[in-house]
């Protein structure tokens, strides 16, 4: 990406709610914009561990869920503003990340994926039967705003900008990670743990760093989800589809790249919404036939993600002899 190449993107994202404001379906498009950003945050958070470090977690829903549950929990039991639960959710996630990561990082490849699936399912089932956490019925936020601090808005625009701010922060962090020793080490771990070790990379420790960072931001995404939706239950907060969605979005755009998750979200979320809006009402299941088919085709023909398409063209141009450039 050229030095200032991100500027038009940032400008477009900032202007989006205004740009669509005149449209017939402004409220809906703004809401979808917020959902795109939220999906991008989750996927970008997953990407730190799954993309850069190559540790394919299929259980990130546990961090998302921790983030989504805590804000609503503090409201449900103590009528506190949900906002106060956000740091709590992040703290819980970090603890969970440590507990899960420490033993599982001895495992590699598919074992790690399976272990994360199992732990996340375990969490989902336990929460689904735990009355304090709302069991199967779930937790609700305030039905109406008691003050600004409840962060309940009629329009999606405030959510949009809050999400955009968080996404910007996350991408900034990811960018810094990518440029720093941490990022280089993580990519080395993904490419080959054994070789990375031989060059002095403390593999387990760096995986753990990546997991903590990833879990923290995933939890933040969960918290934002809960604040906007005002509701969470075991399926919507901790279900395996929550994890899979992050993977699909990151992989679709390009795992291990800075903007891949955002690109993936910008394609997948509108695709889901559009197929559901146009095809869902018929009840034929065509929504998912199209959705599943598209995912399959992209994996078949562009396995590195869509950003790879762009890359192929740009690297060909950048990798002129004698000139040293970074591909990623």
């Amino acid at each position: 990406m050229t030095r200032w190449g991100w500027l038009p993107l940032a400008a477009a994202l900032l202007a989006y709610p205004w740009a669509v404001a005149g449209s017939d379906s402004a409220a809906f498009l703004q809401d979808m914009g917020a959902l795109v950003l939220l999906a991008a945050i989750s996927a970008a958070a997953w990407n730190i561990l799954g993309g850069y470090a190559g540790q394919i977690s299929v259980g990130h829903a546990m961090f998302f869920g921790a983030g989504a549950y805590m804000p609503l929990l503090v409201y449900q039991h103590w009528q506190m503003p949900p906002l106060l639960g956000v740091p709590l959710g992040i703290a819980v996630s970090l603890v969970v990340a440590l507990v899960v990561g420490f033993p599982t990082f001895r495992l590699s490849g598919h074992y790690f994926s399976m272990a994360t699936i199992a732990v996340a399912e375990l969490v989902r089932i336990v929460v689904g039967n735990w009355d304090f956490l709302g069991a199967a019925i779930g937790l609700q936020g305030p039905a109406r705003a008691r003050g600004w601090y409840d962060l309940i808005f009629r329009s999606a625009v405030p959510y949009y900008y809050i999400f955009l701010g968080v996404l910007a922060l996350l991408l900034l962090v990811a960018w810094q990670v990518q440029r720093s020793r941490l990022g280089y080490y993580l990519r080395a771990v993904r490419a080959g743990e054994r070789a990375a070790r031989s060059l002095g990379v403390p593999v387990r420790r760096y995986k753990l760093y990546a997991l903590m960072l990833s879990a923290g931001f995933t939890s933040l995404a969960g918290a934002l989800y809960a604040l906007k939706t005002g509701f969470v239950d075991p399926d919507s907060g901790l279900g395996i589809l929550v994890s899979v969605q992050m993977i699909i979005i990151a992989a679709l755009g390009g795992a291990g790249t800075l903007l891949g998750p955002l690109l993936g979200a910008m394609i997948l979320v509108p695709l889901q919404t559009a197929t559901n809006t146009w095809l869902g009402g018929s009840g034929s299941g065509l929504t998912y036939i199209v959705y599943g088919g598209v995912i399959m085709l992209i994996a078949r023909f562009e396995p590195g993600g869509l950003l790879e398409l762009w890359h192929r063209q740009v690297t060909a141009r950048l990798a002129r002899p004698g000139e040293v450039r970074h591909a990623a």
Binding site: A135, D233, G281, G283
Partner: protein
Amino acid sequence: MKRPIAFIATIAVTAALAVPVIASDTVKIGALYPLTGNSAPAGQAAKAAIELGIEILNAAHPELKGLPLAESAGLPNLGGAKIEVIHVDHQGDPSVGQQQTLRLITQEHVAALLGVYHSSVALTATAVAERYGVPFVIGDSVAANITQRGFKWTFRVTPIATDFAAAYTQFLKEMKATGKKVDSITVLNENTDYGTSVGGSIVEVAKKGGFDVQQIVYNAKSTDVSAQVLQLKEKKPDVAIFVGYTADEILYMKTLRDFDYMPTMIIGDDAGFSDPSFIPAVGDLAQGVLDRSAWAAGAPGSVTFAINEMYKARTGRDLDDTSGRWMQAFLVLADAINRAGSTDPARIQKALQETDLKPAQLMMGYRGVKFDASGQNILASTYLIQLQGKEYEAVWPEAHATAKLQWPMTGWK
């Protein structure tokens, strides 16, 4: 200074309200169902019922005497306007429910909304409708808190978990009073929001009613229910109440037979027992089981019988309680829109608040439709129906019975 502002505001509001009264030829309603995912069978059946409802309203059906708006074509007070329903799949996802509700309101400009099956989706979708001031009529979501949030735009026609629990307890008390042995009850409920809320209510209400109640909670997705049946066999309750979905309830009936254990009576809480695949699969094993339903097709010649025939012609299946409750909610909403004489949401809200339908005007066995301040139908109630031969027959309360209650159940014997 205050007055002119108030004056102008009043004029503005009146003008704004006056515009929609000039009736367009269609009234748009948004309906949200789970058309995909695990609850798709229920959602699809409900959608078919709503489609039938649209046909009944939009064309003249003189044979459906007494059912409001059926005999005329369209909505008379809106110049015979037709109803158009936009069907939407919420996929059982609270966030999708929210998103699609927003779309229906802001993009499709629907006059009112209908839904929704999952209580989780009901909670989030009604919140959007509340913010935008559009009436949302709930056909069949039973979690109590949907109408306990002080919302002014949410109306629920169906009875809820506590109503069901009260009905069962009342029924069992009456049985006891006639000298039947009904002391111990075991509730087997699945552990998603439906089973948890209904099962929990039954346990609570029945305990207050003086019964010895035990509870077995299970996961409806399991491929094997023998552990639960063995536990049930050990507890040997007089009455077992099953709150679950389709596959698990069918498995229960088979497994009970396999383990040769039959309680004196089994009561099924709708859902799985009302699924059209229940009777073909295990009808011969489940003779005499009771099912909760406010729907009964009734005798030939009745309005409900005619509705059932029309539904069967469309789908090849009988109308069941869940879809029936959806259709009833749709009819209640249409009636309110007609009385409002407008597609303005505020007027429809007011008309809904004033709804007072009598049992004779309903297709479902409610005692009427009248909403309290929270939006809950205070006259909602339910029947118990019993599987006798190949059909369910209404057996309780006696006033609505089409057949005599058989006690104990005969099952596979």
